[in-house]
Symmetry: C2
Subunit: 248 residues, 2 copies
């Protein structure tokens, strides 16, 4: 399993990915699923992946090294794309190339062509954008009404985002809410695991100003998790019992 969450708020992008992968439940490994691209002052791009690791790693390699555009004959790399929309199209194109190469063989092996990406960032002179790219290479864009997207094991960590993330949420709060969403998921599904990778791209910074790995035992993350647990306990203790509840 995997859980990745991207938040696109007024002041920028926060992207967090776990690192646990498994081939069956008895073959668990740690792989980086958050990939960063860009040149300071020109562009800053983060991509998080879920699904079949062989597909997602190949797609990342393809958009990094370059794909030949069949219409122009030119090699296109994610670092050269003039906008985030074009970057999303390139990732989508790479996904379809992989599907052509692998789809049938995977199907013969009884495996689905299962992959998903979050792509977020900004190119100089353009708007900041975030996209979720599906296994057919199609994609949707994140909007202001629900300024976050999730891939992988998304359900456990969604309620906290649904309640609290808004367009006006600050970047520091977006980091905290993303980590709380991760924490809920880590607790409820062992298929999602530490360490976490986190990247932050403030709006118009054109740079990934925070790129950090949160290891097992990280004091900030442990403190956040403990504070959250006790606040939740206090919160539900503080709610009065139902007037129709049990006596005593």
């Amino acid at each position: 399993m995997t859980y990745c969450v991207g938040l696109l708020v007024q002041s920028g992008v926060v992207m967090i990915a776990d690192t646990r992968t498994n081939a069956g439940i008895d073959n668990v490994s740690t792989f980086r699923k958050l990939h960063l691209f860009g040149t300071k002052g020109e562009r800053a791009i983060a991509i998080a992946c879920a699904g079949n690791l062989s597909i997602s790693q190949s797609v990342i390699a393809m958009v990094s090294e370059g794909l030949v555009n069949p219409e122009t004959g030119e090699t296109e790399r994610i670092e050269d794309m003039p906008s985030m929309f074009r970057a999303a199209q390139l990732v989508g194109f790479a996904v379809r190339q992989m599907r052509k190469q692998l789809g049938e063989a995977l199907e013969d092996a009884g495996l689905p062509f299962d992959v998903a990406f979050l792509l977020a960032g900004q190119v100089a002179g353009r708007e900041m954008r975030m996209y979720m790219i599906y296994a057919a290479g199609n994609f949707i864009e994140c909007g202001r009404d629900s300024p976050f997207l999730q891939i992988g094991e998304h359900k456990y960590g969604k309620p906290i985002l649904d309640r609290s993330v808004q367009w006006e949420t600050t970047l520091n709060d977006a980091i905290k809410l993303g980590l709380l969403s991760m924490d809920s998921t880590l607790r409820s599904n062992l298929g999602v695991g530490l360490p976490l990778d986190i990247a932050v791209i403030p709006r118009d910074a054109l740079a990934i100003t925070i790129s950090r790995r949160i290891e097992n035992g990280d004091p900030y993350f442990r403190n956040l998790s403990e504070r959250w647990s006790s606040a939740l306990r206090a919160a539900h203790m503080d709610i009065p019992p139902p007037p129709w509840g049990v006596d005593g």
Copy 2:
């Protein structure tokens, strides 16, 4: 969709079920999924259902009206079972009878034989028990380590239970936590909807002392939901930003 949760704590059982059913996303209805059986002083049993409504309704009707035990030739009803374990076996037997009747026809129609039950309660002189019964009629029993079981859309509402429900949790707290788990699910999946049905069976009461429907606009549920939202907001605001966070 459906979400049902059962909590089995030291002081008794709380079972909560939503009432939304849908055949496709454009055919949404309200059906009761929480069914109560028993005679005060003799036994108190609650059953919640998820999955294909035609299967679950038939299983409930069968265990209520009686099934012929092929070994003894006798008709067995859930109200006559000498223990909760035997009641779970009867529900499992009814599920397999339905599978024999319907499984092939459903498969021909491209539909899975999809059904699940939570069964909880107590028979006089016996231990209180809770079971989750699967689509093959097999079942597991709820234990003290994680004193709750869920069927249907269980993920959104699991983190709050994972963090807070313990064997020592009081019945009133179990009601609150069950309703908070429901509230998280209602917010994140429109396929789960009000009204809710709730039943409470205190240990050794041999009676369903609370059987209540929580309608849209129920003042206690609305208050619980609002308090929870603001407590969550306050809780995450109260967590300090990461020391490596964004300036300002």
